[in-house]
C-alpha cells in the first residue's frame, strides 16, 4: 500500500462518513420515506435512496456493486410480505435475500452491512428508525474495505 493511500485511510477513519444505499420499492417503502419527509422525521443524510418498482427488482448484483463502489451499508426496503403491490414480489425477495444474506455472512460480511426491511407506506416512523439504527450499527463497525473496489475512489 502506498504512503498516500495509507494517509487517506487514516484520515477517513478519523471522520468516517458512511454511505448507505437504500433500494426502496415504489409502492410502500419509497412512500414510507416520503411520509418520513412530510412528517419531518430526521434521519442521517448518509442514506441515499434508489427507487425501484418492487423489492423483487433488486438483484444481488446491485448490492455487490454498491459495496464495490464504496457503500458501507446496503438496505432493501419493500412492502410487508402479503402486501406487495404485485401480490407476490416480496415473497421472492424474501427467499432470494434470505439465502444471499446468509451467503454474504458466510464469506465474512457483517450482517449489519446488508439488511432487508419491510416498511409500509404508513410507516414513516419505522423508516426513520430503521435508517437511524442502520447508520448506528455501521458506525459501530467502523470503516471497512470488504468487497470494496480498490480502484474506485469515493469523493465525499
Amino acid at each position: 500500500m502506498s504512503l498516500k493511500l495509507e494517509e487517506k485511510a487514516i484520515s477517513s477513519k478519523q471522520q468516517f462518513e458512511p454511505l448507505i444505499v437504500a433500494f426502496c420499492c415504489n409502492w410502500c417503502s419509497y412512500a414510507g420515506a416520503d411520509l418520513a419527509g412530510t412528517s419531518r422525521l430526521n434521519y442521517p443524510a448518509n442514506i441515499k435512496i434508489i427507487k425501484v418498482p418492487c423489492s423483487c427488482r433488486v438483484s444481488p448484483n446491485f448490492v455487490l456493486r454498491a459495496f464495490q463502489r464504496g457503500a458501507d451499508g446496503v438496505i432493501i426496503a419493500g412492502c410487508h410480505p402479503g402486501d406487495c403491490h404485485y401480490s407476490t414480489g416480496n415473497y421472492f425477495t424474501r427467499r432470494r435475500f434470505t439465502l444471499f444474506a446468509n451467503l454474504l455472512e458466510y464469506v465474512g460480511i457483517e450482517r449489519e452491512k446488508f439488511k432487508i426491511e419491510w416498511i409500509s407506506a404508513a410507516e414513516g416512523n419505522k423508516f426513520a428508525t430503521v435508517m437511524n439504527e442502520m447508520l448506528d450499527s455501521i458506525n459501530k463497525l467502523g470503516p471497512s474495505r470488504k468487497l470494496r473496489d480498490g480502484r474506485w475512489i469515493r469523493q465525499q
Binding site: P60, N61, L64, R65, F67, Q68, P81, G82, T88, Y91, F92, R94, R95, R96, F97, T98, L99, F100, A101, N102, L103, L104, E105, Y106, V107, G108, I109, E110, K115, I116, E117, W118, K146, L147, R148, D149, G150, R151
Partner: protein, 327 residues
C-alpha cells in the same frame, strides 16, 4: 474385462445398430491409467473401445446441450450425480429429454489420481480396477489390493446419490451406502469460524482465482448461452484481476446455481488453483434444506425450484418478530 464395461459396449452396439440412437456419449481410455475421456461415437465399430472404470468422472450430461442441437437421438451414460444434473437441465429447458436414451451407471465412487500419487502408488502403475470398495492397483511389479474409500474424490465421499435417478437401461446393480451421513460438516466448520477469519479465508481463496472459468465451464448447470459475466449490458463483466471482482464473480456464481446445484463437486475438482467452490454451493443447499424443506436438486422434475416459488409463511429473517407470513 469389467462386467459393466462389457454391458456398456453391448448396449451401445445394440442401440446404435437397431437405430434407437444416432450417437453415443461415453468414455474411452487414454494412454495413462487415470485418463478416461469423453467421446461421441456413431460408428458401431468404436463401441468396443468404450470403457467404464473409476476414472470416468466427467459428467456427460452437459455435452447433450450441444450435441442435441444437431437434431440427433443420443445415448448417454450417466452416473448418479450426472443424472441429477440431467434432470436439472430438463427443468431448465436446456435439453429435450425425448431424444435422449439414458444408460444408468450406479457408481461406487471415482478415484482421485492426486490421492494415488500422494500415496506413492503411481510408480509403474498400469491400471486401476475397482469393484465396490475393493481397489486393485496393477503395476509392472505386481498387484496391490486396497479396501476402502481413501482414494475417492472428496466429493464422492459426500455423495448423496450414487445411483442414477433416471435411466432407460440400468447397467449394473444399485450401489448401497451404509455409512452414516454427516450433515454438511464442511459448511458447519466454516460457519463456526469467527467472521473476520471467514472473510480472510474466503478472500485468500478468491484471490487465487485466475478467472479461467473452468468451474463455470464444467458445471452442468452453468449452461447459459451467454454467461452474465460475458454480457456487457448486464454491467457486471469485469475481467480485471482485482479482489472485489473475484469476490463478485464467486458470490454471484454460487447464487446463480442456488436451488439448482446438484452438488456434483465438479467445480472444485477442475479448479486449477484449488478454490473449494463446493463449500459455497453446499452452504446454499444447507440453508435451502433447512429453511424451505429438503430440496434435492433434483430427483423430481415436477417440483418447483426453491427460488421459483415461495410460501406465505416462509421463514422471515427480516421481520422483527421472526415470523413469516400474514398475521
Amino acid at each position: 474385462m469389467d462386467k459393466t464395461t462389457v454391458r456398456m459396449q453391448q448396449i451401445a452396439l445394440q442401440t446404435l445398430a437397431n437405430g434407437e440412437v444416432d450417437v453415443i456419449l461415453g468414455w474411452k481410455k487414454g494412454d495413462e491409467w487415470y485418463d478416461s475421456y469423453p467421446v461421441v461415437i456413431n460408428d458401431i465399430n468404436e463401441t468396443a473401445e468404450l470403457i467404464w472404470d473409476a476414472f470416468c468422472v466427467n459428467n456427460l450430461s452437459k455435452y447433450l446441450i450441444t450435441e442435441l442441437k444437431k437434431n440427433l437421438r443420443i445415448g448417454v451414460f450417466l452416473k448418479g450425480c450426472d443424472s441429477l444434473a440431467f434432470n436439472q437441465l430438463v427443468i431448465d429447458n436446456r435439453i429435450d429429454s425425448e431424444r435422449v436414451v439414458i444408460f444408468g451407471l450406479p457408481c461406487p465412487g471415482m478415484i482421485d489420481p492426486q490421492k494415488v500419487k500422494h500415496a506413492g502408488l503411481n510408480k509403474g502403475l498400469l491400471k486401476v480396477e475397482r469393484t465396490g470398495d475393493k481397489i486393485v492397483f496393477i503395476t509392472k511389479e505386481g498387484v496391490k489390493e486396497y479396501i476402502g474409500r481413501s482414494f475417492d474424490y472428496d466429493k464422492c465421499l459426500n455423495c448423496r446419490c450414487p445411483n442414477p435417478v433416471v435411466s432407460k437401461y440400468m447397467l449394473s446393480d444399485a450401489v448401497t451406502r451404509t455409512d452414516e451421513e454427516q450433515y454438511f460438516p464442511d459448511v458447519t466448520e466454516i460457519e463456526k469460524m469467527p467472521l473476520e477469519a471467514r472473510y480472510d479465508y474466503w478472500t485468500k481463496q478468491f484471490s487465487k482465482c485466475i478467472k479461467c472459468y473452468a468451474c463455470r465451464n464444467i458445471c452442468p448447470l452453468c449452461s447459459c448461452e451467454t454467461c452474465v459475466f460475458d454480457n456487457i449490458a448486464a454491467g457486471v463483466s469485469s475481467k480485471a484481476d482485482a479482489d472485489c471482482e473475484q469476490q463478485f464473480f464467486h458470490i454471484i456464481r454460487a447464487y446463480h446455481v442456488a436451488g439448482r446445484c446438484v452438488d456434483c463437486g465438479e467445480c472444485s475438482r477442475v479448479c486449477p488453483v484449488g478454490i473449494p467452490l463446493e463449500k459455497l454451493n453446499r452452504k446454499i443447499i444447507k440453508d435451502i434444506n433447512q429453511l424451505y424443506g429438503d430440496y434435492t436438486a433434483d430427483t423430481d422434475i415436477a417440483k418447483s425450484p426453491p427460488l421459483g416459488t415461495y410460501k406465505v409463511d416462509d421463514f422471515d429473517p427480516f421481520d422483527g418478530s421472526k415470523q413469516g407470513g400474514k398475521k
